[in-house]
């Protein structure tokens, strides 16, 4: 059977693992610790798809009717 990428579905927004540097600037922008970010589970299909591990931060770029594009960040947890 052909393997499909979850991310190709139109209603799944773009998920990517954030590089360390970008993460730092986001955390300092909101002056928070990593633990204060919203969470996502490693078992989440989309975490598996992009190969995220516990402790990574996933950047989600969503389409928004009013804002064009909106960014969201989630800490990968167990």
């Amino acid at each position: 059977m052909t393997k499909f990428s979850l991310l190709d579905h139109e209603s799944v927004p773009k998920h990517e693992i954030m590089p360390e540097g970008e993460l730092k600037s986001v955390l300092s922008k909101y002056s928070i610790e990593k633990e204060q970010l919203p969470k996502i589970k490693v078992q989440d299909p989309v975490s598996k798809e992009i190969g995220a591990v516990v402790g990574d931060v996933v950047k989600i770029t969503r389409k928004s009717q009013t804002a064009g594009e909106a960014e969201y960040y989630r800490l990968v947890i167990e």
Binding site: Y30, S31, I32, E33, E35, Q36, L37, P38, R62, S64, T66, A67, A70, E71, Y72, Y73
Partner: protein, 880 residues
């Protein structure tokens, strides 16, 4: 967000268990052995129910356990050693199940070792995944109680019957609590686990009481009546009963009384302990006070609406509040509330005496409590509160010093909170300024009904007098009605014209209306407009006249510019805008209504574009003033012509009636043809539908179309001069569908969106043919409400109507529960100054509020229209 608060500690788990006799004795500060409470000096008796080791309630006494005074001492438990064990009513269910599931001789659970192990393994698995083991446990109980012979000792098991409230019969013989307790004591720990009990925290024999904990006196304080007599709490009364019987029981047993007497006393002890826990168990008469009032014992304190949970923890009462029926007063501003004089004389505002207000406050104090506005209390600087009476009022006024506080009566201009339940959104509590009025109801401008969802069919509302300067300032700035005209729900006004306001302005501004000076001044009398513009023309007799549009323009702010389609717009394929033949395109230029009719789309609550524009472009104060003027103008405009509605307004000409009957007849024929082709198996099924579904859908569609057609016929015979049409078209009240049903045809009655099918086998009513698919056998109502329904139609109509009632009842309870859960989940979230949404731990929920950071209140009906508007106003023309 410089310093983030630390993440608070969280409760990781809560454990429930039973109190063992050992634990009860350990936590007890004293055994209670005597039923007496106080000695002759009014001092608590040692080892009595009011023993000071149980805590103290009298000021001056000290607790013997913690040496705290009343108020400091939390209270301590005592205990009563029961002479014989009794059943705890609260555990009847478990006791019964356990008796049936265990052997009567060896007390082991009646399961084969393998089966037992299977359940134990399952239990571990369920615990691991964090699920509730209830289903498995019930299965284990059920399996065990099926076994008739013990697999361990081969003892035959007897039938256990439970009799209310606390009796267990084994083959008709009563099991004493001692016997039950003995059996439970012998159940091995491992067998206990199978039925979901944790032997460390809840051994089953603990459900049979041998020691009774005595709640601290702080839980059951005695009150001293005015006569100086002490009155004890119901719980204390009950405990007295228990101790008395306990003592008698012991004396009788020691004296070797006959078994019959012992049994009676045992039963009596059981009764008192049972009612101590729950005085509403079925099967026994509730314990009563000497006066005949049933005692309020432990479970009565917790259960029900007035109980601890619903009454004390979730619900609270407040001072400085008032409640009464509401009624309308269009002459009040939307920011005002009419407060009845009797309420204004009771509620007070605290005023600190200063050099600037002392003279005024002296007047209030001198007025006393009977002359409004007076004062009810004076607070000295040392905190003493003195009631102002007719005797001391002049004296007090003279003594008034700076720094004292005068609690003066409510007067015009005070800021108060006004509320109507259910408080579903923030506009359910708004700040109004007081207007003291005669009579006994709260008065409010009908334009503020929509946010409160109020009407005047007996609704009551609550009012709260604010007691601090800060709260009054906050209420005025954030909660005043004018600050809440725009709803954050949809970015439009939730306050505006309703009913007569809309019909009134519709009648006023429709077409060219000749209004003479007298009428014009009369209509604008209540607003602050004192001059009329130059007249629109002169009548043949030389009298000047003005148009309705001109009159309405007087209350518009001078710099208002906007245009939009009115409610009456018939949505033509290409809108002719200003040239609309129905005058349905509103154009306001520099505060002048040039074209169009004012209706719901202009000034209605929820829809009014005029308030919306005024508030967003000029400000809430102008918005409030416009609504005030608009409601007053509308009321006088509708009085000029009058608008009444009666059954005769549904009359349609004979030829219309004939046309309608023709349409209905044709529809009936079409339905019959459909049925025929269905019966001849000629009907083609719709894609994805069965044949049965297809015929139902086709019939419904045919009949629905016929109803609409009859509506159009009726409508075409009722012009815009018909009051029902005026109300429906302008959006004031009612719809064209209502009109259709009144004048032409009520139409299909439905249950769950389908034709009515229930009733007798194969038919809805006994006089129809079995399998009749025709329209009248399935709830199509040909008649109109005016003409009257025939009996079968009436019956079907009642069926359809009931569904509506059931629906609303179910929906309100369900949506209420949903709302509660949402509010509980979201109440602590807060939009921060950096536009992030965070909870109390500082955990982010949204990085930008709503992804775009837009305040929905300031958006244009939730649509991004601001840019277009700015461009339009800069270019001062329409830009594509």
């Amino acid at each position: 967000m410089a310093n983030v608060p630390p993440i608070p500690k969280r409760i990781s788990s809560i454990k429930f268990g039973l109190l063992s006799p050992k634990e009860i004795r350990k936590m007890s500060s004293t055994p209670i052995i005597t039923a007496d409470t106080y000695d002759d000096d009014g001092f608590p008796i040692d080892m009595g129910l009011m023993d000071t080791r149980l805590g103290v309630i009298d000021p001056g006494l000290r607790c013997k356990t913690c040496s705290g005074r009343a108020g400091e001492c939390p209270g301590h438990f005592g205990h009563i050693e029961l002479v014989a064990p009794v059943v705890h009513v609260g555990f009847n269910k478990v006791i019964r199940k356990l008796l049936r599931a265990t052997c009567r001789k060896c007390s082991r659970i009646l399961l084969e070792p393998a089966q037992k192990q299977h359940y134990l393994d399952q239990l571990i698995g369920i615990e691991e995944i964090g699920h509730m083991p209830d289903d498995m446990i019930n299965e284990a109980y059920k399996e065990a109680s099926k076994v008739k012979v013990c697999p361990y000792c081969n003892e035959e098991q007897l039938d256990i019957k439970f009799e209310k409230p606390t009796e267990y019969l084994e083959n008709g013989e009563k099991l004493t609590p001692t016997e039950i307790r003995d059996r439970f004591e012998n159940i091995p720990d491992e067998d206990i686990k199978v039925v979901g009990m944790d032997p460390k925290n809840a051994r089953p024999e603990w459900m049979i009481l041998t020691v009774l904990p005595v709640p601290p006196v702080t839980v059951r304080p005695s009150i001293t009546l005015e006569s100086g007599q002490r009155s004890e709490d119901d719980l204390t009364h009950k405990l007295v009963d228990i101790i008395r019987i306990n003592q008698r029981f012991q004396e009788n047993r020691e004296a070797g009384a006959p078994q019959l007497i012992i049994e009676d006393l045992w039963e009596l002890l059981q009764y008192h302990v049972t009612t101590f826990f729950d005085n509403s168990v079925s099967g026994i008469p509730p314990a009563r006070h000497r006066s005949g009032r049933p005692l309020k014992t432990l479970s009565q304190r917790l259960k029900g609406k007035e109980g601890r949970f619903r009454g004390s923890l979730s619900g609270k009462r407040v001072n400085f509040s008032a409640r009464t029926v509401i009624s309308p007063d269009p002459n009040l501003s939307i920011n005002e509330v009419g407060v009845p004089m009797p309420i204004a004389r009771i509620l007070t505002m605290p005023c600190v005496v200063t050099p600037r207000n002392i003279e005024q406050l002296k007047i209030y104090v001198r007025n006393g409590e009977d002359v409004h506005p007076g004062a009810n209390y004076v607070l000295r600087q040392d905190g003493r509160r003195i009631k102002v009476t007719n005797v001391n009022k002049d004296d007090l006024a003279e003594k008034l010093e700076f720094g004292w506080t005068v609690e003066r009566q409510l007067k015009d201009g005070d800021i108060v909170l006004f509320n109507r339940q259910p408080s579903l959104h923030k506009m359910s509590i708004m700040a109004h300024s007081v207007k003291v009025l005669p009579n006994k109801t709260f008065r409010l401008n009908p334009a503020v009904c929509p946010p409160y969802n109020a009407d005047f069919d007996g609704d009551e509302m609550n009012m709260h007098a604010l007691q601090t300067e800060e709260s009054r300032a906050e209420a005025k700035i954030l909660m005043q009605v004018q600050e809440n005209i725009l709803s954050p729900r949809f970015g439009g006004p939730i306050i505006g014209g309703i009913h007569d306001h809309i019909s009134g302005l519709f009648l006023l501004t429709r077409f060219e209306n000749h209004i003479l000076a007298n009428d014009a001044y009369d209509m604008l009398r209540k607003s602050d407009i004192k001059e009329l513009p130059s007249p629109a023309g002169y009548d043949p007799d030389g009298k000047p006249y003005w148009t309705g549009k001109q009159i309405f323009s007087q209350i518009l702010p001078k710099n208002l510019n906007t245009q939009f389609s009115a409610q009456v717009c018939s949505h033509c394929d290409t809108c002719k805008k200003e040239e609309c033949p129905n005058d349905a395109y509103v154009v306001i230029r520099d505060g002048e209504l040039i074209k169009g009719t004012i209706d719901e789309a202009a000034i209605g609550a929820f829809k009014g574009k005029v308030q919306d524009r005024i508030i967003k472009e000029i400000g809430p104060e102008a918005g409030a003033r416009f609504i005030d003027n608009m409601t007053m103008l509308a009321v006088r405009a509708i009085m000029r012509t009058g608008l009444s509605f009666g059954i005769a307004d549904e009359d349609i000409p004979k030829e219309a009636r004939i046309q309608i009957n023709e349409v209905l007849g044709k529809a009936e024929d079409a339905v019959q043809n459909l049925i025929k082709s269905y019966q001849n198996k000629e009907l083609e099924p719709l894609p994805g539908r069965t044949l049965d579904e297809t015929i139902e859908m086709s019939i419904m569609q045919k009949l629905g179309k016929a109803r609409d057609e009859t509506g159009n016929i009726a409508d075409s015979h009722m012009g815009l001069e018909n009051p029902a049409v005026i109300m429906a078209r302008s959006g004031a009240r009612g719809s064209i569908l209502n009109l259709t049903q009144m004048a032409a045809c009520v139409g299909q009655q439905a249950v769950r969106g389908e034709r009515i099918r229930r009733g007798y086998g194969g038919r809805t009513l006994p006089h129809f043919q079995k399998g009749d698919l025709g329209s009248d056998a399935h709830g199509f109502v040909k008649a109109s409400y005016k003409s009257g329904l025939n009996p079968t139609e009436y019956f079907f109509h009642a069926i359809g109507g009931r569904e509506g009632l059931v629906d609303t009842a179910v929906r309100t309870s369900q949506s209420g529960y949903l709302q509660r859960r949402l509010v509980n989940a979201l109440q602590d979230l807060e939009v921060q100054y950096d536009l992030t949404v965070r909870d109390t731990r500082g955990v982010l929920v949204q990085f930008k509020y709503g992804e775009d950071g837009i305040n929905p209140t300031k958006s244009d009906f939730s649509k991004p229209d601001t840019i277009h508007r700015i461009v339009r106003s800069v270019a001062s023309r329409e830009v594509a």
